[in-house]
């Protein structure tokens, strides 16, 4: 009995060896075909990456030898005991041929062949979600076209669903499944998958993230795609601010902005809940909030952000900053257009010009004036100067506030100025309190001949004015 068992085992082992040898021989024959085609170095020199070297050499073969090599590779894959790598190797060769073929009928044939090879590979590795996605991708691409080859029939939908079920945490599978469904015109399901990818992926390549962001065209798609959480909401806000995804119409743009504001508020609240429950440290929550400051969507979100930052600062004993942020949260950011007047030695008589420049300037430099125009119905309460430099000491700068209604005759604010200074990453804020009255033109004037150049600010975003607005066109009530 034992002898019989030994003989059967020996026969199995021998037959396995023979099978493997046959596959190996076929594969080696294929490699030899490449090697003898005057490109031995391409094959022999890169043994560590035989597949890529093989494909590269394959493409350099004359047509007749390409066919021979492909048929040998096919032969290697056709063995019932062939490994799935052999099929994938054939798929790589076919995809290279596809890139060089323009003839529609030939392309269809190559697609069918690739699909069949993927099907055969899948048969040998039934639980491989990435293989399933590759098969589903080709099946969706071929639409209703019926291929004659084996393993080409089936429903890409159910294969995608199975792949997602098998690898729910593989974000590349999820992203690819989203793309397949998007190309199939199933936007809702695709967007759902993209949103999950954005929410859960620990790393997403920038082109993939930008591709998902680029699908945001209105408020509805924004809701469907972008999760209300950090850091995704901050990254999308930056992407939108860069202007890449803005819809053309004013109404659509406003609606999109409103929706973004709601998402930002939800993200702030979610981060706050995580912080309160101890799931998020103070530093991370603070960093989240501060990262949103330059890209805040509208006044509602900005006020929410200021309130939360104020609360958070108080928890760390930063009472001055906390009080200031609370005060700012009750005011509206006013619409201004800024300019600079260098060497403004006749500040009470000179007019402001060169509106809208966005360069970096130094306020503490030889009678520099920083000016702004204020639309009707707006009363300023706080003027903020944002220095990019952290922990500067600017509170003792000899600054004056001047105002005018005709940009020619100027008056100086009567009360002496006591600038306040707060450190708020990434820099420092100097706060001035102007007289609470409406005037069209305002100057913050450095009344000194020194050229300190320590307080640099960006003219476009470094000057902000908060106050009250009575006109609806500025968002006031």
């Amino acid at each position: 009995m034992l002898r019989l068992l030994f003989i059967v085992s020996a026969l199995v082992v021998v037959s396995l060896i023979i099978c493997n040898t046959l596959e190996l021989r076929a594969y080696l024959a294929y490699r030899r075909a490449l090697a003898t085609a005057q490109f031995p170095s391409a094959v022999n020199g890169q043994e560590a990456r035989p597949l890529r070297a093989g494909v590269s050499a394959f493409l350099k073969l004359p047509r007749a030898q390409q066919a021979q090599a492909l048929s040998l590779a096919h032969f290697a894959g056709a063995m019932s005991w062939a490994r799935q790598e052999s099929h994938l190797h054939v798929v790589s060769l076919l995809s290279q041929m596809l890139e060089e073929t323009a003839d529609a009928a030939k392309r269809l044939r190559l697609y069918c062949e690739s699909l069949s090879q993927l099907g055969q590979a899948l048969k040998k590795d039934k639980l491989n979600a990435r293989l399933m996605i590759r098969w589903a991708n080709l099946r969706q691409l071929l639409s209703d076209f019926e291929c004659e080859e084996r393993f080409t029939q089936g429903n890409y939908h159910s294969v995608v669903a199975e792949a997602l079920l098998l690898s729910p945490s593989d974000m590349q599978v999820k992203y690819a499944a989203g793309l397949i469904l998007l190309w199939a015109g199933e936007k809702t399901a695709a967007y759902q998958l993209f949103k999950e990818v954005l929410s859960l992926a620990t790393y997403l390549a920038p082109p993939q993230e930008n591709f998902i962001f680029s699908k945001v065209s209105d408020a509805e798609s924004l809701r469907a795609l972008v999760p209300a959480r950090f850091p995704q909401i901050e990254r999308f806000s930056h992407y939108l601010k860069a202007g890449s995804a803005l819809p053309a119409g004013d109404a659509e743009r406003e609606e999109l902005n409103r929706e973004l504001s709601l998402l930002q508020i939800d993200a702030i609240q979610a981060s706050s809940v995580d912080f309160e429950s101890g799931r998020l440290p103070w530093e991370v929550h603070f960093k989240h909030l501060v990262s949103l400051l330059p890209v805040v969507a509208d006044e509602r979100a900005r006020r929410e952000l200021d309130t939360e930052l104020s609360r958070l600062s108080a928890k760390r004993g930063q009472d001055g900053l906390s009080r200031y942020l609370m005060e700012r949260s009750r005011l509206q950011e006013l619409k201004i257009i800024a300019c600079q007047s260098a060497g403004d030695t006749r500040a009470l008589k000179s007019s402001l010009a060169n509106w809208g420049l966005k360069q970096t300037i130094f306020i503490d430099e030889f009678f520099c004036s920083l000016g702004f125009y204020l639309g009707p119905g707006q009363t300023p309460r706080l003027i903020e100067l944002h220095s990019a430099k952290e922990r500067g000491t600017h509170a003792r700068l000899p600054l004056k506030i001047l105002y005018s209604d005709d940009n020619q005759k100027w008056s100086e604010a009567p009360q002496p100025l006591q600038p306040e200074q707060f450190d708020l990453p990434p820099g420092t804020i100097v706060v001035l309190r102007p007289p609470a009255e409406y005037h069209k033109y305002w100057k913050v004037h450095y009344a000194g001949a020194a050229r300190e150049r320590t307080f640099g600010l960006e003219l476009g975003s470094g000057l902000k004015v908060y106050g009250r607005s009575t006109e609806s066109r500025w968002g006031g009530k």
Partner: protein, 297 residues
């Protein structure tokens, strides 16, 4: 029917090259031009006085500029392609790439749409039914900005062919700053535009100071700054011209023109309906409209 041109100031490289070419050709000049009876609260964007027109033409640019008759009456400026489609009753304009406002912000579709709507509201673009903008991507990564101007169907194609000259009277302004300036747009220094000059200072009823906003685009543009000076009347302006405090002044006062004609050091030139008295050797550019950027010695 379509008109195409290569961008006149497509990129910084060309601009710098031109600047280098012309820097040595002629010395930078500063000129002073007089205007009798200058209104005190002049809005130079909206008003029709010659002083307002002068500032407007120096400080702003347009999609199309008026040119002499040999060039079909206009030439392209901020647009680099203009097509008329009679069957659709519409004009198609492509915005020139690389055009910058003098605050270095790029010219965008929304600026052009805002400016054209503003002109339509003021009655400059008569017969225009709708103005729409859209982006095209003929090859990946290359975004083209197009404006489609649809014409009132009841008008003839001859009437619609007048559109380019109407566009030559429609200054292109930066939309975001124009919205903030609101009714004060065009008062004093209140504008962001992309003309040859920018307003660097003013004194109501007395003076406007214009300085060059970028490099000159032809050898004719030798002037670096222009001071516009207001006078009580034409006689006062003539005295200023004779004493050398101004280089030219606009007037339609017959008596002053007669005096100027008798003066051997002075010359009288005509630009459209305006008469200009200036020194001999001082060039007035009017081809066919006023070109302040080309006033020079």
């Amino acid at each position: 029917m379509s008109y195409n041109m290569r961008p006149a100031m497509g990129n910084l490289g060309i601009a710098v090259l031109l600047n280098l070419c012309f820097a040595g050709a002629s010395a930078a000049q500063s000129i002073t031009v007089g205007f009798p009876e200058w209104p005190a609260g002049m809005n130079w964007l909206d008003e029709s006085e010659i002083a307002a027109q002068f500032v407007r033409r120096a400080v702003t640019d347009t999609l199309v500029q008026a040119a002499d008759m040999s060039e079909k009456g206009f030439r392209l400026s901020l647009a680099d392609s203009l097509e008329y489609r009679p069957a659709l009753g519409s004009w198609l304009l492509r915005l020139r790439k690389g055009a910058l406002f003098w605050n270095l912000e790029p010219l965008r579709l929304e600026d052009v749409l805002f400016s054209l709507e503003r002109c339509r509201g003021q009655g400059t673009l008569k017969g225009v039914k709708t103005i729409r903008g859209h982006n095209k991507e003929p090859i990946p990564g290359l975004i083209e900005q197009w404006v489609r101007i649809e014409w009132d169907g009841s008008l003839s194609s001859e009437q619609s062919s007048a559109l380019p000259l109407m566009l030559a009277d429609c200054p292109i302004l930066e939309a975001s700053s124009a919205e903030i300036f609101g009714p004060d747009l065009g008062l004093g220094t209140n504008v962001v535009s992309l003309g040859s000059f920018r307003v660097s200072g003013f004194s109501a009823g007395r003076e406007f100071v214009l300085v060059r906003a970028g490099p000159p685009f032809s050898q004719k543009e030798a002037v670096e700054s222009i001071v516009l000076r207001g006078f009580k009347d034409s006689n006062q302006a003539l005295t200023a011209l004779r004493s050398g405090t101004v280089d030219a002044f606009f007037t339609n006062t017959f008596e002053v023109l007669e005096k100027a004609k008798k003066d051997e050091t002075l010359q009288v030139s005509r630009c459209s309906i305006y008469m200009i008295v200036h020194r001999k050797g001082f060039n007035i550019s009017c081809n066919p409209r006023l070109k302040p950027a080309e006033f020079r010695y």
